[in-house]
Subunit: 287 residues, 4 copies
């Protein structure tokens, strides 16, 4: 498999398509606003006029768009991916969507004889550019095996997790840990500050021992500087916590600490931090 | 400064004294039960008969014992460190003690003209053996500067944090983060399991991205295997959370997520996990 | 207004229809399983064969069924209430339903020229029998004014809260308080027991001071006796907490203590208490 | 027993001594600042010059002072109660003190052959004036039986709870419920307000059903009016929650919802509400 369609050229999609080109794959791209295609064309991408045209021209088409509605539009819209699906065709959607959207797309693709993977990714702009995403794939295993070499260009780690829905669920679980770790850091910094300890010193200590992790290293200094420029908007982090809690609710799994962390994020939203980085929960914790 | 006294040869102290010897320092050791001195003598340590004798023979004496009461005994007991203190003498206590004990020792040492550092460490047996502890020092700055080369033999990271009390406080703040991260991991594993996801897969995902940290890597697989052999007993982890919350209480700093995590540790204690590893909080979270 | 239709003769509806008859109103009843009509017929009720027939025969029709689906069926089903609606006609639904169902019914009734009230009640079997319900009405104010004398037969307290949706929301807020008070009682009893205090003594103290309330008085002794016979099933109490938290989420209102209480109810569900009384959260709190 | 000593004539003590006089008891009073004795003298009290003089003159002496230190001073100070203790003498301390203070007084009194009751009360100024306190007595049972008629003048409910310490513990458990109920009310009012519901309507609903209680009735309207004039200062309410949580900690009893409520009170303290009424936690919850 050496040719891919790639639909959606936002920050994430552009970086991913570029990495595929750089690795020697032939890539046919499409984006809703066509101007975003030019830079890719400059490094060797061919252009398609519709999602359907792209999907007809490639054995496997990849997609990375912003939300469930955009994802549904790609598949079900006019001359969308679905119209091009048929036996032997594959479709891989990297977008983060709810399980219902994912299952609806999977059913439609399979009903036409095609194969489908949901493949939400963990990581934002930098890992997308560096090809160090974590890819949480679920759906048709043979398709996963076929596209694995390309996935390994995009991510440092690729996991096949089972049926469609498992990828989305795993992403929620991971983001639950992320939300709790972020609040833990905030509480520690707030307590240190109130106790007259140096927060830089705290970050230094945390960077050295068993708790050291890239999240603290990247976010900590920015938080101390009051820089909440969004790389992952707080409203999305809170939404993921809410959905993880809802999953726990359906399964009768108590998650008391995640619930407490979620309330901190809600307090930050009440302070108007919806569109700041999710580390702005520090504003609520240290209020 | 090339000669040190070292008092207390438990698991931590033995490893630390051995590292000083290996680095070429002359070390005079003492332990309450003298048999524990033999292995050190075998690698070049001289033996002292009392804490006071050791302290008289060395410009700076180091100590690492189990708790505040043992720490007080070293200083204030018969022929204790205090009796040997005087102008130019230094005393560094690595033990984890409460601020009151620490301040009491500091006052007594200074009243005799001596200098004092509290220096609790972050890290357990393995980092002690590898010389990769994190050392949280506070007290007399000139003494810190004098002993820094030796501290750097013992730890990968040494911080001078200010007045006596700041080291103990920083350790509480760090252990608050550790407690919250541990509960976050537990909730994630419990939710993943209940959702039919692979917990090994979850650990794999966590090991790859921005959340990757040694704690999850070391503890996660053991927790899945039901191995709660103590390296840091749960009752101590809960005690540190309680003390961190008490510090927040004194300073009117809300810590809602730490408070929720603390309740999980209490639930584990109610299940009889006091003397298991602190990762046994997983038993309560996944009950 | 001296004649009412009454649809739904479960535990609540039967008691309410009976109270209207006793107060001298003419009542035409209907129930999906007709046998439940006989006792009412025995005390003077007339019988209708369909919801539509009842609604055609009465200026105002009242309804009390178990859930949103039954409620929708009453209105939109074959020969349902909607078919009988027209200018001057009124429909009052006491059922506890979600705001969407309520708004859908309101729109349909109004589109035919009719008037609508949602009127969820606070209180279960005993207050229904005693005519001491609390009625949380919202919708068409003139209809509220017209039926108020009848509502006052059914409840000790009737409130008009505004537009359709406000009644359902108020009920969630009240049940949030109920959930938190129940967990507070559980924690107090568990702590008292563990501290060697008498729980009967605790209930006695609580019954005497500023905290005295019927909930503690009714539930406390049963909880100590291990009697969790359901009058309000735990799964419904937890659902209401979940919905109240979701409302807070939409409005960015932090509710940290309600969130903690909700996790206790989830822990009780994990213990299999779904169908026990909501006071069975005590089993989780005192585990 | 028809004569009592009464030590401490603050708001509570004055009201209690007055009730004893009104009931026909002979009362000898003492207060640190003697001016507070005059109003009592005006209604028939005799005056004593020291706690010891009062205690020598009466078979049983009662005391009600502000805190453990004042309580210890009464007993152990110059010509204090202890100097007058001996076989047949009784001492009842209504002050709210920690168990250690209580046990120290009990031991000293008993060592002299005297009898002791700790008897913290639930209720503030109004119940003290109305004789409707709840009295939580613990210590020497025969003394309790002897003074019960007088206790029943002071309180609507008197409980004998066992050994010294049980009274203090029961008071903490009751105040834990009070703290949680207060936060529940705050969260409900904040949610109602944000949802566009009437808070007066909410209080009206709560006053009618199974949740109705004097606390909500008294505090709710003041909270809506922003009136946080202290009748029970917030810092004391938070201290009691902290002590109840500490008790739970010692006994390994998880109290997750109380812990969450405690954090709300801490947030209110961070807003500067220490000396406002404890209902000012509403300021933090609705921030």
């Amino acid at each position: 498999m050496d040719r891919f369609g790639f639909l959606g050229l936002g920050i994430m999609g552009s970086a991913m398509a570029r990495n595929l080109l750089r690795a020697g794959y032939e890539v046919i791209v499409w984006n809703r606003t066509p101007e975003r295609c030019s830079p890719l064309a400059g490094v060797g991408a061919r252009l398609g006029r519709t999602p359907g045209e792209v999907a007809r021209a490639c054995p496997v088409t990849l997609a990375m768009v912003a939300d469930p509605s955009a994802s549904g539009q790609l598949c079900f819209g006019d001359d969308g991916v679905l119209e091009a699906m048929g036996p032997g065709k594959g479709y891989v959607d990297f977008s983060t969507v709810d399980p219902e959207t994912s299952r609806r797309i999977a059913s439609a693709v399979r009903a036409k004889g095609g194969r489908f993977l949901e493949a939400p990714v963990s990581g934002s702009r930098k890992p997308a550019e560096d090809g160090t995403l974590v890819i949480l794939a679920a759906g048709d295993r043979p398709l996963y095996d076929d596209v694995l070499p390309a996935l390994e260009v995009l991510g440092q780690k690729c996991l096949y997790l089972g049926d469609v829905g498992a990828g989305a669920a795993m992403k929620l679980v991971v983001n639950l840990v992320m939300g709790e770790m972020m609040v833990a850091l905030c509480e520690a910094m707030a307590l240190a500050r109130r106790a007259g300890l140096s927060c830089d010193g705290l970050l230094d200590v945390l960077s050295a021992g068993a708790l050291a992790n890239p999240l603290f290293a990247q976010k900590g200094p920015k938080m101390l500087a009051g820089d909440f420029e969004p790389s992952f908007p707080l409203k999305h982090a809170q939404k993921d916590l809410r959905l993880a809690l809802a999953l726990g609710d359906r399964l009768a799994q108590p998650l008391p600490t995640a619930a407490a962390a979620n309330e901190c994020f809600k307090a930050a939203r009440a302070l108007g931090a919806d569109d700041e980085d999710f580390s702005a929960v520090f504003r609520a914790v240290s209020a």
